[in-house]
Amino acid sequence: MLKMILKQMWVQRKENGWIFLEMAIISFFLWKAMDPIYTIVTMHNFNKGFNTEKALAIDVEISMDEETQEALDGVAEAIKLNPMVQDAAITGVFSFPGSTVRSLYSIKSEQCPEWIGMATYLGFANYAQNYMNIVGYRDINTGMPPVIDAGIPVESICYISRMAAAKLFPDGSNPVGQKVSRGGGGSFTVAGVIEDVTPSFGTYEPVIIWFEPFLEKVYSVNAIVKLKENADEVLFRKSFMENDAAKLSTEKCRIRGIKSFGDIYTENRIMIGVDGQMRLQYILSFFFIACAFLGIAGTIWMKCNSRRSEIGLYRAMGSTKRGILGMFFLESAILVTLAYLVALVPLVAIILGNNEFLYSNIMFDLSIDNTSPYLYKRFLPHFGIVSLITYAILMGTAFIGTYITVHKYSNLQPSEALREE
């Protein structure tokens, strides 16, 4: 049967040529639309490496003078007294993972004399332990927030992420107790290594955390809060803004608003264009699937129309409706598969040529890294998964399009189909 279908396809190569070309182009663009969807969905399901549950950030505008720190301490203490609050701390503005602001510093060590750019988070020295607990960083040994030794001056220590440790200490030595230097001056002793965090949506990068006594040249800071497990977040936000915000605002610091870590993470996603990209890719996918459906349905309908007598003959010779449906299904499947294979060639060439997956207008690191622990970074798993999903969608669409059109013709009575002969 396969041989016969291939022969028929060859005889009708002119008509099949158009649909083949169309399916090849659709395959190319549909793959291109599916790729960012796969990447973004995969990134969305990353382990963020920090805990956003019940954590909130209060936006505080400050004036830059020495009395401000005292006023801020007062704010933090007052927030801690709220019965719904488990812990509170003052930190640099949006200086926690997943936020919309990201500072970068150059860091090096003795083993790594090259400067490495690292996402940097800054806590107030007075609140170092509270900061680690509220953000929920996880020590690689205990899986819990690192415990800062009370005897050490916190301004002299730093915490680095697993990825930062691998870059700064490539010999595999234990980073704890070793020194790292900061571009522009200053050095820190590594007090602990934390699990990797995603500073921005979907990106793992080396991270360093240090603490300073007072933040110079800033106009605002965050008071970050962890609520008790049984506390109602919505209720806290409402009552805080209605009752406490005005009371805690002074000449030195003014409370402007409150957001959950989760909301900030979502804002970050919107700001870098992830949500818009997802919508665009969904629309494009829908468009190409609709075009594939119309193309297949239209072509098969034309074929059925011109092969009425052939269908009649099959029916007269005892072919079942299922048999006729199967014949057309096979023809569609061969067409779609061949067109799809042709479309994969330029895709592979583009991806391997640039050594990165297809650019989706988001500042993700899309370079291929076949040693990465994340599947989406490796060429074969990434390419294979997206190709399978796209192929399955195309085949499904082709089968539906074929079924809808052939179904009518497979019901033809032989006498009706052969009447014109």
């Binding site: 522009g184 106009y219 494009l284 075009c291 072509t299 034309m302 129309n305």
Partner: protein, 448 residues
Amino acid sequence: MIKTYFKQAWNIIGQNRLFSSIYIIGTALAIAITMTLFVIYYVKIGPVYPEYNRGRTSVIKELLIEVKGKNKDGETKIFASYNAGINRFFIPDILEKIENVDACTATRTFYADDIAADNGKSYQGKIMVRYADPAFWKVFTFDFLCGRPFMQEDMVEPPQSAIISSKLAEKLFASTKVAGREITIENSTYKIVGVVKSPSSFALDSYGEVFVPHKNNLNTDKPFATSTAHGMYGIYFTAKAGRYTEKISEDIDNVIKRMNVEAEDAFEKGLAGEQLSQIKEFDVKPFWKLQLDNDSAKGSMMETLQRLALLIFSLLIVPAINLSSMISSRMEERKAEIGVRLAFGATRGSVMKQVLWENMLLTGIGGVVGLLFTIVLVYTGAEWVLTIFDQGEIFEVAQRELNADMLMNPYIFITAFLFCMTINIASAWLPARWALKHSIADSLNSKK
């Protein structure tokens, strides 16, 4: 003759419903999505209320400052570099002294949580308040339904005047004639001096529900210098004769370069403290270019245009091939009919015309369906659709609305429609031409 072609085409549509439906749906889809793209970019860069001056408006939204200092060995090293908004004193200290600048304004926004009116009514929920000055109303051409724009006498500290949008006026006072009434925002009371026709929140550079005069921020509002260049404002200005942006940009650049040199001299002579701040990157961009730059993660207009071109190509080429495929099959089917027409003396040109007219009719119907679909899609899902390419902005007002003039623009529809019509006709012409190459005998033999 054309009437006959249309009659024939209409009959053929009726006889081949599936073919016609597929053709119309395919065309409608392509036209709808292409038209939606046109609407998105018209709203972003076209002259829409109240940003009718976009064509001659230039924008400076941020600048990069590099901070240097001397290390222990006395060498000058870069300590840090910051990118941020601009000190609003850039306008009196620099921009107003540049030739060919027509009107220039510094503006920024903040969100207020509730607004109370002097009649006891209040509006609960986030509302966008915009700082403005007298020049703001020259750069952005709002329609005043009552009252007047800000004048120099309104620019007092603390600000006491406000201009509100017609929608807010209706909500608070059930009227738009409310000049002279008072509103309270975050414990400050303002006297309303004007009411403007509500802008759309998709014209984000001028959007606000309330406009108040600038309020001094002690941290940032200082005379403009390289060390105080940062602030929280965006600067908008219109050029006098429309196309002087490049010259203006060059003049501003010269002033900034001079300031950098003076700052460095003072630093080297030990007259300017331990740090040297210099303005390193400073872009004056035409409004439309800034929007296109912003739509690219790489900040490049060319990248945005390339992406859009590829997008439009992919949206049009696929339906075009689909149509070519279907027309090719249809022409095969109609070989005998064409043979008869040719045998009775019809020219190949007249048969071609008939095919193209049929195609035009189907494209026309597809165009109308696509147009209706676009209107429904963009109007009902404005926020979902129009923000597809947006990056870097978080808009916190709950509901974003589109003004009618943004959507019902005949130029957008005509351009997108002609675009699709051309592609459709081209996709019919090629297979029709191939089919007409057969001899009359061949064509008549096909249905033996």
